[in-house]
């Protein structure tokens, strides 16, 4: 029986053009710009200066708080400058710009590809090293992983859930990673299980990746406590709360974290990064990025160094098609439209999606006809039509009562609306304001 989450959901066109494409190593660019804010939390503090020589894997910016992450140099060369550069957020952010010279790695990194199954570190050492390696959630949310692995006092974790769902249309980086690095992901899972002191882990994979389900199920036979759960294809199953609900039927209460129901969720890409950090001593400075789109010549999956300009990736996939109207960092449902193809790849870049002109703009907004489709697709059980009106009228108190902060911004409502109403735009506005009001009240 295929499981799925209980409320709402949609099934957009999958368009997984790059499925089954082997991960190619993208050539190292001549210059990288590495933003110091690539994760949720405080931006890191640069520890290199202009003119410094750096090696691949050398720390260049240090975590500046508990919720923050180290950043390591993705290349070897000289720090050219530390300056504000346009990044995927659409704003200019402080970045470390490095001119590339050769490809000299830190000696401590084990560059062999042999599988290392033996876990020698203790739980505490694993958490510490995960933090040192600058690992953040690679599914796109970029939440520092060591924070998730540190179970707060008073809470208990009894299960680890791995996110191999990749519910965003078009994207295939996690899929391909499971196909090529399945064993590494399973060892990574054991490492995470050890860190969390749990004996059970479930890897949730949607049924449109039958090969990955089969492959991982076969590999997992040798790994105690790890099971593969096939899931019905349904967006937004990769949402943390939806995935927990789908896999083990527990609902994370409003405003709470998964640990409340005894679960911790990590993405499979993150798990691979944890494997590399713990077993190979390799910090996070590269990741798999899908480059895709309806008119892209050679959609594919590329192992890419952080800081590489997006345009290099597009070049590797056959160049920018003539009719491109939009470049999206991430998937079509939750990704960000990029202002330029010069922005750098960061730890959170799961894909680059090129949209042709005709799909780059929205349809004309019409009156709400109260069809209630937004209500029926909302995976959080909210009333998007009402939240939009409340936001337009700036009625924040009522918005809070109507649980606007529960919104996970999956976009199912805007996707579904027959009147093309910008529901999520207004809900985001409301979340910003209501969030501020709530924080000021708590002070």
């Amino acid at each position: 029986m295929l499981k799925t989450f209980s409320l709402g959901g949609i099934h957009p066109e999958e368009n997984k053009f790059s499925a089954g494409k082997k991960i190619e190593v993208l050539p190292i660019p001549t210059q990288v710009s590495v933003p110091i804010a690539q994760h949720i939390g405080a931006p890191s503090t640069p520890v290199v200066e202009r003119g410094d020589s750096v090696k691949v894997g050398q720390i260049i910016a240090k975590s500046s708080g508990f919720v923050s992450a180290n950043i390591h140099s993705p290349v070897s060369g000289k720090v050219f400058k530390i300056d504000k550069v346009l990044d995927a957020s659409g704003y200019k952010q402080m970045s470390i710009i490095i001119k590339v010279d050769g490809d000299e790695w830190e000696e401590s990194i084990d560059r062999s590809t042999s599988l290392n199954r033996e876990i020698t570190l203790s739980a505490e050492e694993i958490v510490k090293k995960t933090g040192e390696a600058g690992i953040v959630g690679l599914g796109g949310a970029t939440f520092p992983s060591h924070v998730k692995l540190s179970v707060p006092p008073g809470k208990t974790c009894d299960i680890l859930i791995l996110n191999g769902v990749e519910c965003e249309p078009y994207l295939t980086s996690d899929h391909q990673l499971m196909m090529e690095k399945g064993e590494e992901i399973l060892v990574g899972t054991q490492i995470l299980m050890k860190a969390l002191k749990v004996d059970k882990a479930i890897i949730g994979i949607e049924n449109n990746k039958k090969d990955a389900i089969e492959h991982m199920t076969k590999l997992a036979e040798q790994y105690k406590g790890i099971t593969i759960q096939a899931l019905k294809v349904q967006y937004p199953q990769g949402g943390e709360k939806q995935l927990i609900d789908a896999c083990i039927g527990r609902e994370v209460p409003s405003g709470k974290l998964p640990i409340e129901v005894g679960a911790v969720v990590q993405n499979v890409g993150t798990t691979f990064a944890v494997y590399e950090a713990i077993q190979k001593n390799k910090p996070l400075f590269e990741r798999v990025v899908t480059v895709t789109g309806k008119s892209v010549k050679n959609p594919g999956n590329f192992m890419t160094r952080v800081g590489t300009p997006v345009k290099d990736l597009i070049e590797a996939a056959g160049g920018i098609p003539e009719n491109t109207g939009k470049v999206i960092g991430g998937g079509p449902m939750m990704g960000k439209a990029l202002a330029s193809a010069d922005v750098p790849v960061t730890k959170g870049s799961s894909g680059i999606l090129l949209m042709p002109d005709e799909l780059s703009t929205r349809g004309k907004t019409e009156s709400c006809i109260r069809c209630s489709k937004c209500v029926s697709v909302c995976p959080m059980g909210l009333l998007p039509y009402l939240l939009m009106t409340l936001s337009q009228k700036a009625i924040w108190e009522r918005s809070e009562e109507e649980r606007v902060m529960d919104c996970i911004e999956c976009g199912s409502c805007s996707y579904t609306c027959p009147s093309n109403r910008p529901l999520l735009d207004y809900i985001r506005l409301s979340k910003g304001t209501v969030g501020q009001i709530m924080r000021s009240r708590n002070k």
Binding site: S6, L7, I10, P12, K241, D245, R250, E251, V252, P253, S254, K256, I320, N323, G325, K326, I328, G330, P332, M333, M334, G335, A337, L338, A339, A341, M355, L359, S360, T361, R362, E366, S367, C368, I369, R370, C371, S372, V375, S376, P379, M380, G381, L382, L383, Y385, L386, D406, E409, G411, S414, Y415, T416, C417, P418, S419, N420, L424, D425, R428
Partner: protein, 330 residues
């Protein structure tokens, strides 16, 4: 690639549109329209064409000259209002009365509130009830089925099954006797009975329901709760006194039960937004319809029931919330 579009996510859309939904409803109404033409012939044709044309024309004129807003007549909603208005009228209704009905439906029922999406009451029913109260004689003389296919104003008329039963019971006739005077259930299923032009064909209306459910234009909640409530309520009454109260099958197959439950109560704009709310709404319609039919002054109460429950929709939406994520007890 000279300029890149920047917009917040999501960057894709389902492709659904107001038009697709409205024309979907129109397609779902076609079987009932066909039966109406078969049973009532020329009269049904004149009534339908007049009601649709007048509704669309009034929407056009009001938007162009009174509201001075872009025209919305192509979205299909005015056509639906006209079609449903026609379905709710006897097929021998004079053209001028139909035009008045369309003016009230579109002008008062819809445009006075700001057009599609803003009207609290089902526009076609506003028009219909206005006519029923203003022209009670013309609105309650129904042509006999299958006998007037080439007649219009001069059609021979007779009572509807609901009317026969209501009047007969009032005169002291027993129900079993009255049941011999009304058409058989098979005739009722295919539409061979007196009634408004579009309400008689049970099978055709059910085909429309199936189509709308498959296309996901509507959900089951409203039709099932309306018809289920009517069946249960009528069943209880009939069980308590079989000689005084007609049974569920009679109530579901006669009058506007199916037309109302499937096409009028499910109007997006005037029905609740949550599944739970839709069920409350449907139960209310079912209860009020049977109350009016059995205890009220009118033989049929579907239109009034829907309009009354339309008035409760804002209240229902205010207090009935969907099942929220995260409230399940472990």
């Amino acid at each position: 690639m000279s300029t890149l579009t920047i917009s917040p996510s999501p960057h894709v859309h389902s492709g659904d549109s107001v038009k697709k939904n409205m024309y979907g409803v129109i397609i779902a109404l076609i079987p009932a329209l066909a039966v109406s033409l078969w049973v009532f012939g020329l009269g049904a044709l004149i009534v339908t064409v007049t009601a649709i044309a007048a509704s669309v024309l009034f929407e056009y004129l009001i938007e162009k000259y009174l509201l001075k807003v872009p025209s919305t007549i192509t979205d299909g909603s005015a056509v639906i209002t006209g079609l449903l208005l026609a379905f709710n009228m006897p097929s021998n209704l004079p053209v001028w009365i139909i035009i008045i009905g369309a003016l009230v439906a579109i002008g008062v029922g819809k445009m006075s509130f700001g057009g599609l999406g803003n009207n609290p009451f089902n526009p076609a029913l506003v028009g219909r009830v206005f006519l029923l109260i203003s022209f009670p004689v013309q609105m309650t003389s129904w042509p006999l089925p299958m006998q007037n296919t080439t007649a219009y104003l001069d059609a021979t008329t007779g009572a509807t099954p609901l009317g026969i039963v209501k009047e007969g019971l009032a005169n002291g006739t027993s129900l079993s006797e009255l049941m011999n005077q009304v058409p058989s259930f098979v005739d009722m299923l295919v539409g061979k009975m007196g009634g408004s032009s579009g309400e008689v064909a049970a099978i055709a209306l059910l085909i429309g329901l199936a189509y709308m459910l498959i296309r996901k234009i509507i959900t089951w909640h409203i039709p099932v709760s309306v018809l289920g409530t009517m069946a249960i309520f009528a069943g209880i009454l009939s069980y308590s006194n079989p000689e005084a109260f007609a049974g569920p099958a009679f109530h579901l197959l006669t009058g506007g039960a199916l037309l109302g439950a499937i096409f009028m109560a499910t109007d997006y704009v005037t029905s609740p937004m949550t599944n739970k709310g839709m069920i409350i709404f449907g139960v209310g319609i079912g209860v009020i319809t049977i109350l009016i039919r059995v205890f009220g002054a009118y033989p049929e109460g579907m239109s009034f029931a829907i309009l009354i429950m339309n008035a409760f929709v804002p209240l229902i939406d205010r207090y009935v919330k969907p099942k929220r994520f995260g409230e399940k007890v472990k």
